[in-house]
């Protein structure tokens, strides 16, 4: 057996691939868990994009909404802890009352900021990309301003949600143990995100709401003639999508860390948008693309953690770490350029709707 592996690894070029597979198998648990954890905020951002764009509203302010969600989740945790005390965490997820209040506040803030985008792009009919850009700048400015102001007080935060640690017997199940561990060894927001992806996929293609959303995104006039209120449906989708993006922000400041830094979303809103495009405007596809983007990062982390040996190790140490950082963006550009098949947006994406009678 060992001889077969050694032989495989020695083949030129293909051997490198074999070594990579071997390395990944050895570090499967670490890489898979890291990839899922890194993919969650990207997937939530992409899901926010899917909800908006399927109904015909371009949303490039996901980044800003996430950032506000992250900030409000953290700061309301501080406020709630100051008023209520830290509270005793429940055995599951480390839930405390301040944490739950903070999460609710984060979602609400995300919905409010999305309402602004909805109003600007649906009612005022401002160019939707301009509107999104403004909201991104405003969110970065406001959270940066308040963060600088508040950090002077060195506030006491509400801590973070805890992952659902699986017992070793489950993790050690052959073949599927690593998968269960990767998906389920997450906090409440992470698990909600995975459930949400599946639920939204079903809703979008199998429910009345989904049919209406897609109709409004493809041909709003036709949708209106069969009695769908285009304006109301778009408002509802955009506002609800704000909660999804804010959940992604809260994941960053309340689940994988317990603090807020200026611009901590670091472009995840935009990568989410890219994941949405690569995933062709479907929730599952978006999650898949998010996983793809995240695994390049997870593998690069793993390489830093335990460098592979042999000729693969030599090759990977030549490739600069920054290459892996840039990989998701390169993939997106390649996909957009149509190299890996076309990705076609909803037909009415970005076009404000005006009723016949109003013109």
């Amino acid at each position: 057996m060992g001889q077969v592996v050694a032989f495989l690894y020695a083949i030129p070029v293909l051997g490198l691939l074999a070594q990579l597979v071997g390395y990944l198998l050895d570090n499967l648990q670490f890489v898979a868990h890291g990839a899922v954890a890194l993919a969650i905020p990207i997937a939530l951002a992409g899901l926010c994009g899917v909800m908006c764009e399927r109904s015909g509203v371009i949303n490039i302010c996901i980044e800003g909404v996430m950032l506000l969600g992250a900030f409000v989740g953290w700061i309301m945790g501080v406020v709630a802890t100051a008023i209520l005390g830290p509270g005793t965490p429940l055995p599951i997820f480390g839930l405390t009352l301040p944490l739950l209040i903070a999460l609710a506040a984060a979602l609400l803030a995300g919905m409010l900021l999305s309402l602004l985008h909805a109003w600007l792009s649906i009612s005022v009919r401002v160019d939707q990309i301009i509107s999104g850009t403004i909201i991104n700048i405003a969110a970065a400015g406001l959270t940066g301003y308040l963060n600088t102001l508040i950090s002077q007080l060195s506030p006491q935060g509400a801590g973070a949600f805890q992952p659902l640690s699986l017992p070793d017997t489950v993790v050690d199940i052959p073949v599927v143990g690593w998968l269960l561990n990767a998906v389920l060894d997450q906090g409440p927001i992470g698990i909600t995100a995975i459930v949400l992806i599946v639920v939204m996929q079903i809703l979008l293609f199998r429910s009345r709401w989904g049919l209406r959303t897609r109709a409004v995104g493809e041909h709003p006039k036709a949708a209106e003639t069969v009695g769908i209120d285009v304006i109301r449906l778009r408002y509802r989708n955009v506002v609800l999508s704000g909660a999804v993006a804010a959940l992604g922000g809260a994941y960053l400041s309340m689940e994988i860390t317990n603090s807020f830094q200026a611009n901590m979303t670091a472009g995840r809103g935009f990568i989410g948008l890219a994941a949405m495009i690569v995933g062709r405007w479907t929730p599952i596809g978006t999650f898949g693309a998010a996983l793809l983007f995240a695994s390049s990062q997870a593998i690069s982390q793993s390489i830093v953690f335990t460098a592979p040996s042999g000729s693969l190790g030599d090759l990977l140490t030549i490739v600069p770490a920054q290459f892996y950082d840039a990989l998701p963006y390169l993939v997106t550009i390649v996909v957009l350029a149509g190299v890996i098949g076309k990705s076609i947006p909803p037909a009415a994406d970005g076009q404000p709707y005006e009723r016949e009678a109003a013109t």
């Binding site: 005022v124 301009i130 406001l142 301003y145 308040l146 508040i150 007080l153 600069p320």
Partner: protein
């Protein structure tokens, strides 16, 4: 008499909305300052906005140093804003000024270090040229992709920003790293450093920025190419029927736009920092969009817009020191200015402004072809 009258009316028509938007945005900023002063437990300090804005004005307009600093801060915004505005004129939204700026700056430093020891004229020209070429190349890629495959520049330029960030980090920690330095920084340029013309750091770049304004205006409004650009922006289909080449215009304009942002980066780093760090941070990317929108994409409008935001940046430091109001307030106020500007239909209804031309005019074709499949 009637000529003065009509000139006044014209000024009112042009300026009413921007001035109102700026005034209202500072009002919103004041509300935020008061509310946040209550949040950090100083009690709601109603005088704080006045103290803060007084420091902002003092730091930017009331002293010679402040005025020079205003111009220094305004110059990169002006050059990058001209680039973004040029894009808007052709119906293209270049969100990639950030990446073009950063890589332009690295390119300038790289060539600057190569030409170390050469006569200043040679070194400076070579370094500035390198900044323009690199910035132009970073803009060319999204332009080419849009023209050939219809990949929307909004997404590709944002992606390019992150690729640029990774490339910057790689270059400064790797090939361009100053040997023996503990921190990831490049070597400093001296031959290619822009000469200081006025004050402590009023460098040559300011002049370059000011010269670019009439040049760009001439290109847009007095040449056939400029007419072609504006026609493609207004209606690409009509432009094509008239025998113009929307695809070519897309590529050329994106390249020029990137070139201007690259020049902004080169000028800024050759004039001020003289070296690059891996974490070089700037807000030029978004600020230049704000400047272009406030200036309605017209070079003569972008100049005062850049000076306004330059002044805000120049005074923000003093505001933070004297009033304890974090400098990030400036970013927020900028966004609110834009908000009122684009929601001008609401402003006009609210304040009963009649006969005021307020449409941004240039951005209507932007969202049409987002995602994939171009219009042409």
């Amino acid at each position: 008499m009637s000529r003065v009258d009509s000139a006044l009316r014209r000024a009112w028509e042009l300026l009413a909305i921007p001035v109102l938007a700026i005034f209202l945005a500072f009002l919103v900023g004041a509300v935020v300052i008061v509310l946040s002063s209550g949040l950090v437990g100083k009690g709601f300090d109603l005088g704080l906005p006045l103290t803060a804005y007084a420091a902002l004005i003092q730091g930017s307009l009331l002293t010679p140093t402040g005025i020079v600093e205003t111009f220094v801060q305004a110059t990169p915004l002006l050059l990058a804003g001209l680039g973004v505005g040029l894009g808007f004129k052709a119906g293209l939204f270049n969100i990639g000024a950030q990446g073009q700026f950063l890589l332009g700056a690295v390119g300038a430093i790289w060539v600057g270090t190569v030409f170390e020891g050469a006569p200043a004229v040679v070194a400076i020209s070579a370094a500035l040229l390198a900044g323009m070429v690199v910035g132009g190349a970073v803009g060319f890629v999204p332009g080419l992709l849009k023209a050939t495959s219809g990949a929307h520049e909004v997404v590709t330029t944002i992606m390019m920003n992150y690729i640029a960030l990774a490339a910057l980090s790689w270059l400064v920690t790797g090939p361009l790293k100053l040997p023996g330095s503990p921190q990831p920084v490049t070597a400093s340029v001296t031959s290619a450093a822009l000469p200081i013309l006025v004050g402590r750091d009023g460098h040559l770049g300011i002049l370059i920025g000011l010269v670019a304004v009439p040049l760009l205006w001439f290109l847009l409004y007095r040449t056939t190419r400029g007419f072609e650009i504006r026609t493609v922006g207004a209606n690409p289909d009509a432009a094509r029927y008239a025998g113009m080449r929307p695809r070519l215009v897309t590529v050329v304009v994106m390249t020029l736009s990137g070139l201007l942002a690259g020049l902004a980066g080169a000028g800024n780093v050759l004039g001020l920092n003289h070296q690059m760090t891996a974490t070089f941070s700037t807000t030029v990317g978004f600020d230049s969009i704000t400047v272009a929108l406030l200036g309605r994409s017209n070079p003569w409008g972008i100049l005062p817009a850049a000076l306004l935001f330059g002044a805000m940046r120049a005074g923000a430091g003093l505001m933070q020191i004297q009033a304890g109001v974090p400098a990030e307030l400036v970013d927020f106020v900028q966004a609110v200015i834009l908000l009122f500007l684009v929601a001008n239909s609401v402003l006009r209804r609210l304040f009963r402004l009649r006969g005021v031309t307020a449409e941004l005019g240039t951005t209507e074709t932007l969202s049409r072809s987002y995602g994939s499949e171009g219009v042409h």
